[in-house]
């Protein structure tokens, strides 16, 4: 039984979500190939070839693939699908965009966002924003699965798989117009080891930037926000942590002025250590926090900055 892992990449670099998806694939089979989709991705393919235990790396290139157009991505995967029993895709916005297309064309039920591989045909996935965990057994011969990266450890490096070029694919009815990527020196939210998030208590976008961002920079952390803060316009949408935003599981999650609505907890409760700073001692966030500080962020955050400086950070 062979497994195809579709790599997550931005044409320049392989993303860590790929390594984590390989770990999930290893629980299904030892015969793992990686497919890199994009344009000008020889560097990405070389990085993928270093993942330990990978048989070979396949590369499909075209303009449409370089822009992550789902129709082209699905067609490129479908051209190879005959040789595999399972196709695993990282559950990133790009992966979730095309994986269901592959499933539909293969006439199989997609299995979304798995957090555990119970056996080669049985998987666990969160439903209802993580308030329940569903274990499903697939009756389809071929499986199309998206893998929640934060639920798996990254596969080790040290391999030297061969790299082969396969056919690219295009999308006749979809044209790329433009993209606006947020430029930031901070780590990416979904992959960061430390995340500092702010909530509605910030009261304005200016206050959010004044309070949350310096603390994040001091900790080398990514910046997150609750949906309430995003809805109020204090932070951009891609900062959003929660059911409708990003699911994160960093080593340390610092929630500042966040009450802890169900939808937010769904996006961060798998973090290793959770810190909550909130002036409301009854805020639900304290029920999941390892360390809670009941205080107004206006005084607590400057004190925290000073304490970090004193500790040599």
């Amino acid at each position: 039984m062979a497994v195809l892992v579709v790599a997550d990449n931005d044409n320049a670099h392989l993303r860590d979500a790929t390594h984590k998806t390989v770990t999930a694939a290893q629980k299904i089979s030892g015969d793992i190939d990686i497919l890199v989709l994009g344009k000008g991705v020889s560097g990405v393919a070389a990085e993928a070839a270093k993942i330990a235990g990978v048989r070979k790396v396949l590369v499909a290139e075209s303009d449409a693939l370089g822009h992550g157009i789902a129709e082209a991505q699905a067609d490129a995967v479908l051209a190879l699908a005959g040789g595999y029993d399972a196709i695993l895709v990282p559950a990133t916005s790009g992966g979730k965009n095309f994986a269901p297309r592959v499933a539909a064309k293969l006439d199989v039920a997609p299995i979304s966002d798995i957090i555990d591989v119970v056996s080669a045909d049985t998987f666990t996935r969160p439903i209802y924003a993580g308030n329940a965990l569903e274990t499903v057994q697939s009756t389809d011969a071929k499986k199309v699965i998206t893998v929640r990266p934060t639920a798996f450890a990254a596969a080790a490096e040290g391999g030297s798989a061969s790299v082969e070029t396969v056919g690219g694919a295009d999308a006749a009815k979809t044209r790329f117009v433009s993209e606006e990527m947020v430029k930031s020196d901070r780590p990416e939210l979904a992959a960061a080891k430390i995340v500092v998030s702010g909530g509605r208590a910030m009261g304005s976008a200016e206050e959010f930037q004044r309070v949350i961002e310096p603390l994040a920079d001091k900790l080398g952390a990514a910046v997150g926000a609750s949906r309430a803060a995003v809805d109020a316009g204090y932070a951009p949408n891609d900062y959003q942590v929660g059911q409708t935003g990003k699911v994160v599981a960093p080593q340390l999650y610092v929630a500042i002025g966040i009450s802890g609505a169900i939808q937010h907890l769904a996006g961060m409760k798998d973090s290793k250590v959770i810190v909550a700073i909130n002036k409301d001692a009854d805020a639900p966030i304290f029920q999941v926090a390892d360390y809670g500080l009941v205080a107004d962020y206006k005084t607590a955050v400057p004190e925290l900055m000073d304490a970090l400086t004193a500790a040599g950070k």
Partner: protein
Amino acid sequence: MKVLVPVKRVIDYNVKARVKADQTGVDLANVKMSMNPFCEIAVEEAVRLKEKGVATEVVIVSIGPAQAQETIRTALAMGGDRGILITSDVDVEPLGVAKLLAAVVAEENPNLVVMGKQAIDGDNNAVGQMLSALLGWPQATYASAVEVSGSSAKVTREVDGGLQTLDVDLPAVITADLRLNEPRYASLPNIMKAKKKEIVTKTVADYGVDVTPRLKVVKVAEPAKRSAGVKVETAADLVSKLNTAGVL
């Protein structure tokens, strides 16, 4: 231009889902049900297209129990023109839903399908993409802005790390993300008017689509509970505890 908007009746987003004691599923008895929030955004977008004179008719379709009629009525009160209810007593998986919707599209011939990016019960985020694949139409998922002009639509999409804009030929499938718009509340006169709008009731069998589940639910369990930790008194105390935990 005709717009088709599929909507789903789900547990209200403010209600915490509770797992049944026998681990067969989530307890929906006597729980408040509402329209899936992303579907509401899709309905709003379709109605706005009609108000701008781009769309001429907004058709609402829902697959579910008889009570899904209420969900359709809500969409009609927001400005939808008529509804189609496909009743099913069993939960239809995304693949079956996509096939049923493809059959509805074949009958209705819309120029555009606008739907939510995911339902907040199954959290699959799959039906829009699957419908687009089955129809051979282009897709534009996670939309935060939609601009229809002539035979194509320019769609801004929320992707990891920023925004992407695509131009897709019509007909197409567009799925709505959170920031596409803020859905309106239906006014009382519109709620009254919606009661008179037509809803046709069909069954899954009417479409000749096989919706046999492909996934067997082995169990539905509660996630491991995270227990509350300790309260610290000062920021300095917090930093020393985090240092000890080795997470700084």
